[in-house]
């Protein structure tokens, strides 16, 4: 019987929560993606927490939060320890995405769900594969072959093909059939008749316009705002769709010789582009061709400045500019801060290029009509100064002392223990003790930090310094909107000065890479100040679909083309999922499943198969006909057995006559062309093909949609005449008779 296959969504089913699915193939448990939303809420990962230690392999498909965000957390806290498979760009850009995310979070909160070290260690063991590389799994997964294939959407984006015993399970989420400026379209359509296809219903209800027109609308919208003296904020992801936007803008700016500055602002923007420059072989054919011919690398962006902190941006003042800043959700990161600054000016535009994740600020702003004002928390990490710094240092000192005291105490104990009778037995104990001490040392360092810098400014018990100024922001309204307190701005200026100092002192470090940035961040004692405020949304808001996913119509036609035996739908609003499910169930007799979160469905194929050997004698008598890349023949044989192996021999008695089979797929339009070439008068009339004066050929039943339902039905009709037999002869010539 077939390979047993079960699918359990852990997140991202009947909803737009992050993608994370469990796929068991003959007991080998794959985790397909490991996403987290920008909100980073550990409670979202509960289903994953239950199964994480049992996972045998993790397959990542795209380098963004929704597909791999939870990986560091799961590795650190949930006991996920399986090898991870991804393409090189997914690995590299995913790593940068996580860095950026951490740094953005860390700047505004005491983020401790994972650290940069956790990110590093999570990505350390990623096995990097090339597209179409067949990777054989070992040990428990013996016999399973996994292969990443081009998915489009994001650089390195992957459609995973998992093969066992000739049966394919295909995991294809967020694919894009369209070729883009920097990416090739997916090769998903080249897979035919997989046993199982797992795909998303995310875009089932959306349809897109033409790409070129879309691009044009996009730059038009930007230019309109820029021309009227406003600035544009594009909240983007760290290293995903932003690449496409950068290319479109860079190219357009180059063509038109536009002078408005474009800034790409993330914590890792320089590294991102550096790496992307070296990923040409993963991009669009025309890009690699361009490079081969002229050594032109499109990511040597000529009109975009890459910046990694806001100060550079602020130097520019209010001049019209385009800023692409992470994160797309506006929850944290530079985009959040810039949004707060820009929202108040009607000239400005905030242009969303992707649908905001559920429950984020971006999503709130994307509703129609947009809200007039939103409440946001403005937080900032500032270095400790004056008394606070002293207090912190004292605290550190105290901790250190305590540590050394403890250490000495332990040492004494150790000494005592070693002097004790059963020294040998206690030895490992003490080693354990001291090492755990060490690690807790590091932990307490951080813990102390948390103690001091708790959110909401409860003065820590140990603190001797006065409380940091806290602004009670009760929004006062008059006829012109919120009453603005100029003092707020004064304070902000001050804060900025601090960070400027801080920034300029370590400007070089910041420029280079995350490694040094991390050192910097870890070493300087700092704290977070938060400020809740209401932001008036006066700027214009717009949404344009640059998500780079196939739209509803294409998804349907791709599914119809791939024609899986079983289809599993995930990730999409309940509405979209139901819609696609109904659509697929109606048009084909394939089995469609749309499991709920934590619902396990069994999609084991009911395919029966056995292997036989074909004897030379038999094969020499078979004359097969060539049909495209197939060769096909009718086989009459008899089974023989040879040491447990089945072998097919020529039949001993004449075989019974069989019903003949016509093989081929006729398109009426092609047939029309064919007949016309033969000199016939042919025309379409009422869905039928009228050949000559009397003969009609037509199709009955929409058999194309009917997956395995059977064969094409053609009718040829006409009065008894010579033409009839001629047309019939020509019609037969389009098929192979077996």
């Amino acid at each position: 019987m077939g390979t047993s296959v079960q699918v359990t969504p852990l997140s991202g089913a009947y909803g737009e929560s992050p993608l994370c699915y469990l796929l068991a193939v003959d007991g080998f448990r794959f985790l397909l993606d490991c996403g987290w939303s920008d909100l980073c809420d550990p409670s979202q990962l509960e289903p994953l927490a239950k199964v994480a230690p049992t996972i045998d392999a993790v397959l990542l498909s795209h380098p963004d939060m929704m597909h791999l965000g939870a990986l560091p957390y799961a590795m650190k806290h949930l006991g996920l320890s399986a090898p991870v498979y991804a393409t090189e760009p997914v690995f590299r850009l995913g790593l940068l995405t996580m860095y950026d995310h951490f740094l953005s979070r860390w700047q505004v909160s005491d983020f401790d769900l994972f650290t940069l070290d956790d990110v590093d260690s999570a990505f350390q063991n990623v096995v990097r594969l090339k597209y179409s590389q067949n990777h054989l799994l070992r040990d428990k997964g013996e016999g399973i072959v996994i292969a990443p294939h081009v998915a489009g959407h994001l650089l390195g984006g992957t459609v995973w093909k998992i093969t066992k015993d000739g049966e394919d399970v295909i995991y294809a989420v967020d694919f894009n059939h369209r070729k883009e400026t920097h990416l090739n379209g997916t090769v998903l359509t080249s897979f035919v008749r997989p046993a199982v296809l797992i795909t998303d219903a995310y875009n089932a209800l959306n349809n897109q316009g033409y790409k070129r027109k879309q691009d044009q609308n996009f730059v038009d919208a930007l230019l309109k705002v820029l021309a009227s003296g406003g600035s544009v904020l594009l909240p983007v992801d760290t290293a995903g769709r932003v690449l496409e936007l950068l290319l479109i803008l860079d190219e357009y700016w180059g063509q038109r010789n536009l002078k408005y500055p474009i800034h790409f602002l993330t914590n890792v923007s320089t590294s991102t582009i550096d790496f992307v420059k070296s990923f040409l072989e993963w991009m669009n054919d025309s890009i690699s061709k361009e490079f081969e011919q002229n050594r032109d690398n499109p990511f040597l962006l000529k009109n975009v400045s890459l910046i990694i902190n806001k100060e550079e941006l602020e130097k520019l003042g209010d001049a019209p500019k385009v800023v692409l800043a992470s994160m797309a959700s506006l929850e944290v990161g530079f985009s959040h801060d810039i949004f707060v600054e820009m929202a108040n000016d009607t000239k400005n535009l905030v242009l969303f290029t992707e649908k905001g994740q559920f429950g984020t600020l971006a999503r709130m702003l994307q509703v129609d009509p947009p809200p007039k004002a939103v409440k946001v928390t403005v937080s900032k990490r500032i270095p400790l100064v004056g008394d606070e710094l002293k207090a912190y240092e004292e605290e550190q000192e105290r901790i250190k002392k305590e540590e050394s005291l403890k250490a000495s105490r332990i040492k004494e104990e150790e000494l005592k223990a070693s002097h004790g009778l059963n020294a040998k037995a206690s030895d490992p104990m003490t080693i354990d003790g001291s090492s755990s001490r060490k690690s807790s040392n590091a932990g307490s360092h951080f813990g102390a930090n948390v103690d001091i810098l708790i959110d909401g400014f409860v003065p820590p018990s140990t603190s001797v310094a006065p409380m940091f100024p806290f602004f009670e922001n009760t929004a006062e309204w008059d006829d012109f909107g919120e009453v603005i307190n100029p003092d707020d701005y004064m304070m902000k200026q001050e804060e900025m000065d601090y960070s400027m100092m801080h920034g300029s002192g370590d400007g070089l470090d910041g420029k280079i890479d995350e490694g040094s940035a991390r050192l910097l961040l870890d070493s300087t004692p700092s704290k977070v100040v938060s400020n809740e405020m209401t932001v008036q949304v006066r700027c214009s808001l717009a949404y344009m679909d640059f998500e780079g996913r196939s739209d509803g119509r294409s998804v349907k036609s791709v599914i119809a083309h791939v024609a899986p035996l079983k289809l599993v739908l995930v990730h999409g609003s309940a509405e979209a999922t139901e819609h696609l499910k109904m659509h697929c169930a109606k048009n084909s007799d394939l089995h469609v499943y749309a499991p709920q979160v934590e619902e396990t469905i069994d999609v084991t194929s009911d395919l029966c198969a056995y292997k036989v050997q074909l004897s030379e004698k038999l094969m020499s008598n078979i004359i097969s006909k060539k049909l495209g890349e197939h060769e096909i023949a009718w086989l009459d044989a008899e089974v023989g057995k040879e040491d447990e192996k089945l072998i097919l021999l020529p039949p001993s008695s004449p075989p019974p006559p069989h019903k003949s089979v016509l093989v081929g797929d006729l398109k009426l339009a092609d047939f029309k062309q064919f007949l016309e070439n033969k000199g016939w008068q042919v025309e379409f009339a009422g869905g039928a093909l009228r050949c000559g004066e009397y003969i009609t050929v037509r199709k009955i039943g929409d058999s194309i949609q009917k997956g395995g339902a059977g064969s094409q039905q053609l009718v040829i009709e006409g009065p008894l005449c010579e033409d009839y037999y001629k047309i019939r002869e020509l019609l037969y010539s389009q098929f192979y008779l077996l």
């Binding site: 090339k130 179409s132 590389q133 292969a147 035919v192 790496f275 420059k277 070296s278 072989e281 490079f291 081969e292 011919q293 050594r295 690398n297 280079i512 890479d513 490694g515 395919l607 029966c608 198969a609 056995y610 292997k611 050997q613 074909l614 094969m619 078979i622 097969s624 495209g628 890349e629 197939h630 060769e631 096909i632 023949a633 009718w634 086989l635 009459d636 044989a637 008899e638 089974v639 089945l646 097919l648 001993s652 075989p655 019974p656 003949s660 089979v661 016509l662 093989v663 009955i700 395995g708 094409q712 039905q713 053609l714 009718v715 006409g718 009065p719 019939r728 019609l731 008779l737 077996l738």
Partner: protein, 748 residues
């Protein structure tokens, strides 16, 4: 056609053994290497065939001979591997392989020592149009430089693959080659346009990416040799062939070491450049190199490094740049690389970081290691201010001409200066000469000068040496080893060593010369997978299996016709035919006539309102209107035949008309029948006896020669005096009755 002629002339030229480097091969004997059968299912037998003998006998039929005749039962299992170049030589790598009707060509190089047509591999031995796939391992001239010729000037129409980095450098390198090579216009193999056109035909393949063309599956592994160098593994019907190209198993500063493939190949075509030599360890070489450079510049001397622009040059630059970074005291001493080509290719090196080793990748996370901090490029000697110590890397590597020679001439007399020769040098060049440190050298202007400059030969050549080759083969354990790409001597030594190393195993080592074919037989058993409804039960012995057998590539599947759509991209069709035949008679007639002809004529199930018949459960005949009947059936040879005969029957009925319709007779009343019978009897009687008169109540009065007889037409009683006549009339009547009413209507 011009190209073809060109090839033919080249053969006749080249057949003359002589200076153009063609092997003098007339005295080769046909050798047959008999091999013991193997334990595995594959049983290869190798033979070396002497193609040259054929060639000598019939020059005109070269093209024909090259298409190997498809005869013999085992033809399908025969694998033929023929080096068209690089057989017992270094240069013009090109290996032709054919198996199961699929043909693969590995590499397409030129011989750097020859020019024009003579530098090409023996393309006339093969039919380029039969090649399915051409795989190019790396960008070096001896592996890729005849590609524009082969793509643009022969009948080749297959697909070409190389890695991304190879393709990017291939273009630059060949453009440079075309510019530099000083051959007459007639002798030019191709021009720049050909190179550009060839680029469009070249497809790229990434390492480990599996491609399939026409049933040939192939993928490539890192080979180490230069950036983008690949080893190709080809899988045809389960038989695997590994072609290493040039490879190195030693990781260096920027390249990964050659990988060991996951699967053992059945045949390994392997380079043997260094034969049984052994390299110094990398650390030692690097140390020697940097020491020489450092001590020379410290003494105020100049260092000349003649090197080919691409490949090892980048490695040396990395070493120097790193060394300079670690030695701040050297920062004021400039390092130059004087090659516009290398400068152009630097962008490629800066981009395809992912083909390099982890060391470079990690450095890349900080800053691009190919953005050198201490090295500048130099366009020509005019821009070079030769004051004080410096390090210059210049091409060509052989000091034949160009910048490296100019600098050499300038610097060779000063004993403070050094020349470091970093790689394999070709016999006959100045570089080869100075390795032996002669007292005097001849300058480019013809004068002789004393050689005081120190000369160091430190090989950074990234070819495998014997220990590498030996361990590589030991890990792979290929049953068949074919040596290419090595001087005849080195190769034969390597062959002997390998034979003794693999003594006792089944491994065979062969080293064919150019155009000598190695033939092997792989009779792999064909396996098929029965799937779908046919496979619901595994059959017992001697049970029949009937179904479609579908072959795609080299895999077979057996399935029921209904399942064809389910498991393949093919679909089945059903053609329903409906034909209208003019007919205006009674439908019963058709039924009657059909019943006379066919065994099975049934009335159609009464779903329709018009009378219908089903003949042999295939063809439905319906009386659709007064004027025609329709026939409907689904196409199939037998149904077509049945329907044709039905049509014929119907047409016959309409043509013969009602007079032959017996059913109409049956419709007449008995009286009428009686009357007709009477008439017939009368007519017949009259013809027999002449004077016959019809009497009353069906009586006949017959008078013969005055004798009168009365015949009762009903009972047959005859009243007559003449007994003879009476008997005769009785007999006649009986016979007439027999004719008119064959069977008595009843017992009455």
């Amino acid at each position: 056609m011009r190209a073809r002629n060109g090839l033919l002339t080249r053969i006749s030229k080249s057949n003359v053994p002589g200076p153009n480097g063609r092997p003098n091969s007339h005295h080769l004997n046909v050798t047959r290497l008999s091999q013991a059968g193997q334990a595995s299912s594959l049983s290869p037998v190798s033979t070396l065939r002497n193609k040259q003998a054929e060639r000598q006998t019939d020059m005109a039929s070269v093209a024909a001979a090259s298409k190997r005749p498809a005869t013999g039962g085992r033809e399908g299992d025969q694998m033929v591997i023929t080096p068209l170049g690089a057989g017992n030589e270094v240069g013009r790598s090109c290996v032709h392989m054919t198996f199961k009707g699929r043909t693969v060509l590995f590499d397409c190089g030129i011989h750097p020592a020859y020019s024009g047509m003579a530098a090409l591999p023996y393309f006339d031995e093969i039919d380029p149009s039969t090649i399915d796939v051409l795989l190019v391992t790396h960008f070096h001239l001896d592996h890729a430089a005849s590609l524009p010729y082969f793509l643009e000037k022969t009948t080749f129409k297959g697909r070409v693959f190389m890695t991304h980095a190879t393709k990017a450098i291939y273009k630059l390198l060949l453009q440079d080659y075309v510019k530099v090579s000083k051959v007459s216009v007639d002798d030019m193999l191709y021009d720049e346009q050909d190179i550009l056109r060839s680029l469009d035909k070249i497809e790229v393949i990434d390492f480990h990416q599996t491609m399939e063309v026409n049933g040939i599956r192939f993928w490539c592994y890192t080979a180490g040799h230069v950036l983008g160098a690949a080893m190709f593994m080809v899988d045809i019907a389960g038989v695997r062939i590994l072609y290493t190209g040039d490879y190195s198993r030693e990781e260096d500063r920027h390249l990964r070491a050659a990988e060991t493939p996951q699967f053992s190949p059945d045949i390994c075509i392997i380079e043997s450049t260094y034969g049984i030599q052994q390299h110094q360890p990398r650390v030692v070489r690097e140390k020697r190199f940097t020491e020489v450079v450092h001590s020379t510049v410290a003494q105020g001397g100049r260092v000349l490094i003649p090197a080919f622009a691409l490949g090892r040059a980048q490695e040396l630059l990395l070493i120097l740049d790193e060394y300079w970074s670690n030695h701040p005291e050297l920062h004021k001493i400039p390092i130059y690389y004087a090659s516009p080509l290398a400068k152009k290719c630097m962008a490629v090196y800066q981009t395809y970081i992912n083909s390099m080793n982890d060391r470079i990748k990690n450095q890349y996370a900080q800053s691009n290691p190919f953005h050198f901090k201490h090295i500048e490029s130099l366009n020509s000697i005019d821009n070079f201010h030769d004051v004080g110590p410096s390090v210059v890397m210049a091409s060509p590597g052989g000091l034949q001409s160009g910048l490296s020679r100019q600098l050499f001439d300038k610097w060779c007399t000063d004993k403070k200066n050094s020349c470091v020769i970093p790689g394999y040098v070709v016999e006959g060049t100045l570089a080869k000469t100075i390795i032996n440190e002669p007292r005097e050298v001849t300058l480019a202007n013809g004068l002789t000068a004393p050689l005081h400059m120190q000369v160091h030969y430190i090989s950074f050549s990234a070819h495998a040496d014997f220990p590498q080759t030996s361990t590589f083969l030991d890990e792979l354990r290929p049953p068949n080893i074919i040596l290419v790409h090595g001087e005849a001597n080195e190769m034969s030594r390597l062959k002997q060593r390998l034979i003794s190393q693999f003594d006792g195993t089944n491994a065979k080592v062969v080293s064919p010369k150019n155009c000598q074919s190695v033939e092997m037989y792989f009779s792999s058993e064909k396996m098929a997978k029965t799937i779908g409804r046919l496979a619901e039960q595994v059959p017992e012995a001697s049970e029949p299996v009937n179904g479609l057998i579908v072959r795609k590539g080299f895999t077979y599947q057996i399935m029921a016709p209904e399942d064809l759509r389910v498991y393949t991209q093919l679909s089945t069709a059903n053609i329903i035919q409906r034909i209208a035949v003019p007919y205006s008679g009674s439908f019963e007639v058709i039924r009657y006539r059909l019943k006379q002809i066919y065994e099975s004529v049934e009335s159609a199930p009464e779903e329709c309102d018009v009378p219908a018949l089903v003949v042999h459960e295939r063809v439905t005949v319906r009386l659709d209107s007064e004027s025609y009947v329709t026939l409907q059936w689904s196409s199939d040879p037998i149904s077509d035949m049945v329907s044709d005969s039905v049509v014929a029957v119907i047409l016959n009925i309409s043509r013969e008309g009602p007079k032959v319709v017996p059913v109409e007779e049956a419709a007449k009343t008995k009286e009428e029948t009686e009357r007709v019978a009477q008439k017939v009897v009368y007519a017949l009687m009259a013809s027999l006896f002449g004077d016959v008169k019809v009497g009353e109540e069906g009586k006949f009065i017959i008078s013969v020669d005055g004798v009168v007889a009365h015949l009762d037409g009903h009972s047959g009683d005859v009243e007559c005096e003449n007994a003879t006549l009476r008997e005769r009339i009785k007999t006649a009547f009986r016979r007439i009755q027999g004719a008119v009413r064959p069977i008595p209507l009843s017992a009455s």
